[in-house]
Subunit: 413 residues, 2 copies
């Protein structure tokens, strides 16, 4: 027998090949980090405690199940978590969103194909040039903004590339380069240890030498401009990366797709998949305002609620319950718009007891006329275990949504 193309690719190719146009509207509502843990100390999860009559009604009248974001035991970051929900295999190298690009998307920068982004840290070095603090004493965001303004003012002309510097939270900033022939093959300059100077900007292949020279020159002028700063007198760069070249939703599935998210990172990841970014305020009710306005323009709408994840990260059980109840209260406004297929799930679990993302399966509910009405009557982790959809990889959700929306032709005669 013979070798053949990667079966993951084949999956995507199969769905692409079967995709057909339809009048149906598909909505993916991501409650970031919604999945949680039952523990001995807390035998009920936020989803079980929260009063969510609308989510429960959808679960009772549709199909439920659980998704695995990447693979058993793997805890995804936001990038892989969402790429999987969008149908890509996040383990595939082409779906790799580098740290620099993720940071740039999170800063709402307009990242285009070929742009090179890096994550920057302000850091502190002593008189000998050796690092004493890789985060410059975690300076406040306000100070970061002031420093970034200074960096911008010293960017030299004639570099052959457009340079954008954008402040992030605390000691973080983003460097974005746009121009012909840029390479991402640069090693991190962060030595990941103290008592040594930052590393030089090293090209990892011959084709990256020009980009390395450019970045080296920038680092020199930046550090000159920061020389009199007491804390932030060095810059460390890492995660040089470019937008992944993903086959996009319109190409793959012939749908007009909109990303409705209050936080730029999420609409940024979606835009890398070919969705139109629709900036929103951060709460679900305000997101729904934008959805209602734009309803006619899209076939597939991705709605992102961040606060479930934030509450999990904070270890704040009550806050997670409150967000879930707030989402549930607003849900009728979404249902009134009449989505043909509505999937509600998370990109991963963020259990309150762990205060972090985790690998635990995430409950999913799927509401559609062609959904099997299973016996599950509530939307929560434990109930979903018995659902008709079973437990499946997140990346299969997209094909299920297309199928339930009549957007996939039969395979073979």
């Amino acid at each position: 027998m013979t070798h053949r193309e990667d079966p993951m690719e084949m999956e995507l190719e199969l769905v692409r090949r079967l995709a057909r146009a339809a009048e149906t509207k598909l909505v993916l509502l991501v409650l970031d980090g919604v999945g949680d843990l039952r523990t001995a100390a807390r035998p009920r999860t936020p989803l079980e405690i929260a009063r969510t009559p609308n989510l429960d009604r959808l679960a009772a009248g549709g199909s439920t199940g659980r998704i695995l974001p990447v693979d058993w035991g793997i805890t995804p970051g936001s990038g892989p978590g969402h790429l999987a929900l969008f149908g890509y295999d996040p383990r595939d190298p082409v779906a790799d969103i580098g740290r620099g690009v993720l940071e740039a998307l999170g800063a709402d920068l307009d990242v285009r194909a070929g742009d090179v982004a890096a994550r920057g840290n302000f850091a502190t070095a002593d008189a000998d040039g050796n690092l004493t603090d890789r985060r410059a004493g975690r300076i406040p965001t306000e100070e970061c903004r002031r420093l970034v303004d200074r960096l911008r003012s010293v960017v030299p002309g004639g570099l052959g590339a457009e340079v954008t510097v954008e402040a992030g939270e605390g000691h973080r900033f983003v460097l974005l380069l746009r121009g012909p022939g840029l390479s991402t093959a640069l090693a991190d300059t962060d030595p990941q240890s103290l008592g040594v100077p930052p590393l030089d900007v090293e090209p990892q292949e011959a084709a990256a030498e020009e980009t390395a020279a450019l970045v080296r020159r920038l680092v020199v002028v930046f550090e000159k401009a920061l020389a009199d700063e007491p804390r932030a007198n060095r810059v460390l760069l890492r995660g040089f990366s470019t937008l992944p070249h993903l086959p996009t939703f319109p190409e793959l599935y012939r749908m007009r797709c909109g990303a409705f998210a209050g936080y730029p990172l999420y609409r940024g990841v979606a835009s890398a998949c070919g969705m139109e970014k629709v900036p929103c305020d951060k709460t679900f009710d305000r997101i729904l305002d934008r959805v209602a306005e734009a309803w006619d323009r899209f076939d597939y709408l991705f709605l992102h609620v961040k606060q479930t994840d934030a509450a999990g990260e904070d270890g704040n059980f009550d806050a997670k319950v409150e967000v879930l109840e707030a989402v549930d209260r607003e849900l009728p406004r979404l249902l009134e718009l009449g989505p043909d297929v509505l999937a509600v799930t998370g990109d991963h679990s963020t259990p309150v007891p762990m205060k972090s993302h985790s690998w635990h399966p995430v409950p999913v509910l799927l509401s559609a006329e062609t959904a099997f009405v299973d016996a599950v009557e509530r939307f929560d982790e434990e109930s979903a275990t018995a659902g008709h959809l079973g437990t499946f990889p997140s990346r299969k959700l997209l094909a299920l949504m297309l199928a339930h929306g009549g957007r996939l032709a039969k395979y073979g005669a």
Copy 2:
């Protein structure tokens, strides 16, 4: 992206390597399209409503679960649905059964390796030769037979290939060519639109030129013979294809295999996998007559019941219930023969509310002395969700049947 070893092939190779002879008899009973939907309007499926004491007894005394024919969200045709039940990955290009071959198998033609088959339509063209009806006004099957007789009578000699023409339903017919060096690399001649003439027979590669010339010559004599027909004065050909070159059951698993089906398409697909075709009448009781006669000759028996699918396609809930009850009534006759392993399932779901094949998982029951007696006591969609076998790809059923029949050796020491 890179190429890598095909894991699906590896699966098949593993099972082949472990397969060992045994005295056990394995029966696969396919209730075509058996899976159905619970909806708000119909909260119980035909399997739940039907009185099926024998199937339920088997479910209670064995293992249950659910199979996914191709992948989440993918709706299979009959070819892929059955190939998966026979252990092949229907997404694999080597398992691709083309439309022409499927049509030829459905007409009960003796399709052999290397034969090229195409699906034909009779069509209508106006005085200028432009198509006005791609289905010749959907002529009755009887008229089709008369026209096919005429085509047969004008097949010229000296073509270098044996030509078979067989009538199908309505305006459909099959063209089958047998001879050395035939190619399937011919484009469809059906332009898929009106107001234009049929397309020429175009070879898609140099090696197909001779076959193209042969088919072109046939089309000319066929259309000359049809010149005075008021409706059916053109032939359109598509889906030129040949039998897939599959590793066969006897090769792979050292079993003598028989296909018992009332409809030629299904025994045809099975014969492409190396099973012996046993023509049967169309109802389950008559199929069982053949099974009883041939019981000693086979190790693996594939039994196909079509009427469940037909009832689903017709949207006829009561008919589906009736077929299930009729099958259940006859089942003791099969059990009396003493199969060591009996699997009952479908090649896909054909939900009554959808009147079509669908992607929903299909319940499966597995009865054998070594089957785990799970808590499920009925054979239906919802009960099977809790079954011991879980939800798994259809193509794994064959290995499970072999294992339960003591036909797979231990893997590794």
